[in-house]
């Protein structure tokens, strides 16, 4: 049988999107009352839940804490039921550890950590359903959770993935497109200042194509920013209405 046609002649992808279109985004803030901040985000079929605690006292050894800055502690885990085949080891495997490290790097760049020396901010992200773009959904969910917790941030962090197929740059890859084996770029962007917090590329890509792919990812992040902004403002309005201000 022929393989799946990821990009048709008319420019439609497998699920009917065009090359630069994002998947449907749904997000809710403040879903978890117990935590300082929480958010639930769905990007297509990828569902991520982020929970933030902090800033609170340093747990663990004080030796690891950076001087005069808050310690950002991230943990990324995937539920055993999140993938098509049940995952055996949800925590502690290499991929999760790498993702956690990436999240930590991303948020250390975005949070104003100098305001909270000698304290710790915990970010826990759990992927409930994985359908491509796991890291990006995790970053977006964590951003919303941090906003919900009221921890001062420099700017939103919007993340999106991009790929390259048949001379066209695709934005927001789903699982089938990622598994096809082409180059994948994950970009975490601070949209206002256009600062890149994290850029990750795996598989080889010729230098000539890089600007186009980067461009597609940047555009996608900007669209995401607009969507997340809308969610946040609605949440603020609802919260204010609830408190009767």
């Amino acid at each position: 049988m022929a393989g799946l046609e990821l990009l048709s002649e008319q420019g439609f992808r497998l699920d009917g999107r065009r090359a630069g279109e994002l998947r449907q985004l749904r997000a809710r803030m403040g879903v978890f009352a117990q935590a300082d901040g929480s958010a639930y985000l769905e990007q297509g079929n990828t569902k991520a839940l982020a929970v933030v605690y902090g800033p609170h006292e340093l747990r663990g050894s004080r030796g690891k804490a950076p001087h005069a800055q808050a310690l950002v502690n991230c943990q990324y885990s995937m539920a055993t039921f999140s993938t098509a085949e049940r995952k055996r080891r949800p925590h502690g495997d290499r991929a999760s550890a790498e993702m956690s490290l990436h999240l930590k790097q991303t948020f250390e760049a975005a949070l104003l950590t100098r305001l909270f020396p000698r304290s710790q901010i915990d970010i826990y992200v759990q992927i409930l359903q994985a359908d491509g773009g796991n890291y990006c959904a995790a970053v977006n969910a964590a951003t919303l959770a941090l906003l919900d917790a009221g921890i001062p941030m420099r700017d939103y962090v919007c993340a999106c993935s991009a790929g390259f197929l048949e001379d066209t740059a695709l934005a927001d890859l789903n699982y089938v497109e990622e598994a096809a084996g082409g180059p994948q770029l994950a970009l975490a962007l601070l949209p206002q200042a256009q600062h890149i917090a994290l850029l990750e590329l795996n598989a080889r890509l010729h230098q000539d194509h890089l600007p186009r792919v980067l461009d597609a990812a940047t555009q996608a992040c900007r669209h995401l920013h607009a969507l997340l902004d809308r969610v946040v403002r609605e949440h603020l309005r609802d919260a204010a209405a609830l408190l009767g201000k």
Binding site: A2, S8, Q10, G16, R17, R23, D208, H209
Partner: protein
Amino acid sequence: MLTSRTFLKRTRAGAVRKIVREHYLRDDIGCGLGGCALCGGESRPALEARPGGAASSLCPGPHFLLPDTNLLLHQIDILEDPVITNVIILQTVLQEVRNRSAPVYKRIKDVINKQEKHFYSFTNEHHKDTYIEQEKGENSNDRNDRAIRVAVKWYSEHLQKLQMEEKVQIILLTNDRKNKEKAVEEGITAYTCEEYIKSLIANPELVDRLASLNDEGNEIETGRIIFAEHLPLSKLQQGIKSNLYLQGTFRANRENYLEATVWIHGDGEEKEIIIQGLRNLNRAVHEDIVAVELLPKAAWAAPSSVVLHDDENQNEDDVEQEEEKEKSLRTSSSNSMLRPTGRVVGIIKRNWRPFCGMLSKSQIKEARRHLFTPADRRIPRIRIETRQASTLEGQRIIVAIDGWPRNSRYPNGHFVKNLGAAGDKETETEVLLLEHDVPHQPFSQSVLSFLPKMPWSITDQDMKCREDLRHLCVCSVDPPGCTDIDDALHCRVLENGNLEVGVHIADVSHFIRPGNALDQESAKRGTTVYLCEKRIDMVPELLSSNLCSLRSNVDRLAFSCIWEMNHSAEILKTRFTKSVINSKASLTYAEAQMKIDSPSMNDDITTSLRGLNKLARILKKCRIDNGALTLSSPEVRFHMDSETHDPIDLQTKELKETNSMVEEFMLLANISVAQKIYDEFSEHALLRKHPAPPPSNYDILVKAAKSKGLEIKTDSAKALADSLDSAEFPSFPYLNTLLRILATRCMMQAVYFCSGMDNDFHHYGLASPIYTHFTSPIRRYADIIVHRLLAVAIGADCTYPDLTDKHKLADLCRNLNYRHKMAQYAQRASVAFHTQLFFKSKGVVNEEAYILFVRKNAIVVLIPKYGLEGTVFFEEKDKPKPTLLYNDEVPSLTVESTTFYTFDRVTVNIMLDASNVQHQKIRMALVEPKLVGTSVPSQATQLNSNNEPKKKKLKE
């Protein structure tokens, strides 16, 4: 809007997995109509607003057609016809076609891309109004049919809403009865393909191109079932997994239509299984992927050495005659010759393509069903239905196969195109090119647009990055009449006493930039094909014969490889550079040889040539010491009559010393470049290798030599070369040449490969550890790639993404190897055709010949004067059969009481047998040694008086 599609899929391991995918429904998909107000108007409308298709009696007004899947799969020829326009292809239909047949999918995609056909591909699966979900209890086929009907309905409503002056209809074309009934119930106009085509007023010939299909209901028609049923795919896959069946490619035997081999796809080693007999062949066609079941060892057979052809005048459905012939195949043979034998149980993938050939009219007058005989002997005859039989008789036509039912002796097909009169040179050349898949259409406008504008001259920009070598005394040596001059040489003495030798190759990669249409077309063609009177160019003539060609006394761009050598031809330094040269002379081999030999000429060119010649001799000796092989093949050139372009005379090519001189330096250049690009790009260098043949390939050669008492050692190339050199027979000087010719037949094919995908680089024939093609970029695409790689290596050019992608390079190599092979076959076929033309005009000729191979019922002889090979049969239809005894150990054939061995000298009678117009045969009959009943009296008085080898007993 978002929905999701959930379905269950079976993984390879046998587990069941649930797949959930998103499915977005859009509202911005247009209907394809130009200027459609409701859809916002397409930027590039595909369908005409007022479809001007063929006028049909069934639907008098303008209408759009919408075919369903089966129609697309089977009647693709009708849709490609220029008469049919304004067709809507649904995404559902297109996806199904893609999954079921890749070649049809490619063809329909090409048709959709043609603007003038006005085909539109409608993405109905993502359109919010035409997407439907699979209902409970509905299988996927029914769901697809329903989707098609929903789309048609949407279209008809949409067209109504547009309120155009003339009402445009939409018509569903389907051959599925149930679908048609349901459509009519829902108020959709639906016709079967047959009804519609027959209703076209102005185009009755389209009816011929209708594929004949099995009527679904009546599988068992009159006539008994001849063949076993093919097992369904799932059973075959199970069987293959459990090693009950084997999967492989079906290769029909060209000489024997009742026998074939299946090459099993194993891991690494390839096994061959023999299939004998019509029933066991079970309707498999050459190149199909089949599943085979091995027969028990008791039923194993030996590959038959019988030559059998499906006879023209045989009664169609006479299966008993076939069975008789089959029995003749199974003669007792020694156990060592037995090979695994099997039978075909199912077809995994069909690889049918349109075939060229001729119609053999049925004996019955007014019959509409005729048999078509393809030119390629490996394809069975095809039954077609046509009304134009009398016009098509004697013409070369193209036919496509539709199917092969169990009760039919031959497959069913339909007529596609008429090429022209058979025997006509133009038509035959066309057939040759089509059968060998050689792209030969004139270059398209888009390709020609990338050529440089004339008048062209070298700009300063070009000069900046090149060395100016115009002062060097460069000259080129090529065959007479050559216009595409690839290479030029020079040799001069340096101040330090060493020699500087340069090979300058036309800089084609400067003109053909990567990625544009010109580059793609050249990559597709792969190589220039040299037929006897025609040349199919790989690059347009402006480049091949003018701007790239290193003609004399004009400045030309070149890529130079310059060595500094000492007088014993040892390389001290190598450098590569892009350059500008000015060739001082374009000589032929004969002219160059004359210059070297005549003592009076002493100008620069001659000294340069003499220097090159001296070095070439030393280089050749070095190579031979290392084990390079010098084999000979009977190459023959035709002298053409300048007016009629008919061959006047055949002449074997003579090799002069200058041929060898040019060859040596080309080889040296290729080896130096190969080393350089491999050093720079170990993962993506395009190289050429010649694998050593397995020892079994040499069996024929060793056996034949042994029969003359000579030993040929085959353990290494050097051993082979040495033993060939020493294999002399004082009384039979031609024996050595014959042995070399036989050795050529044992060799493997040299192939291109990508260095990152293969580990074995050795070139057996040249005894070189690494090799590539660099010296002929005008006529080979591989050389253009090597030029690009070398340019990057010396910093004269930049890479582009595809150059460093080793998978793309491996694909390119595959295509180039295929085109090269096809070009060789086409060239051989062209030579064969012209030979036939030549003998047609000459009449009957007597010539001396040597036996090359001995078969069970015939001998294959070689005529050195013409370089011609032919078969002498001993069995003739209407004459009594002589007693034949075949000994395949020696090998030898005893006819009555005369025994024939390999390399025996005989005299034969050559004449053209034009009884079969399509396969005009060169018929050879034995003159000497005289055999009662089979020999033919010699016509001419040419008697051979050279020393004869010790002859076996002759019957007077």
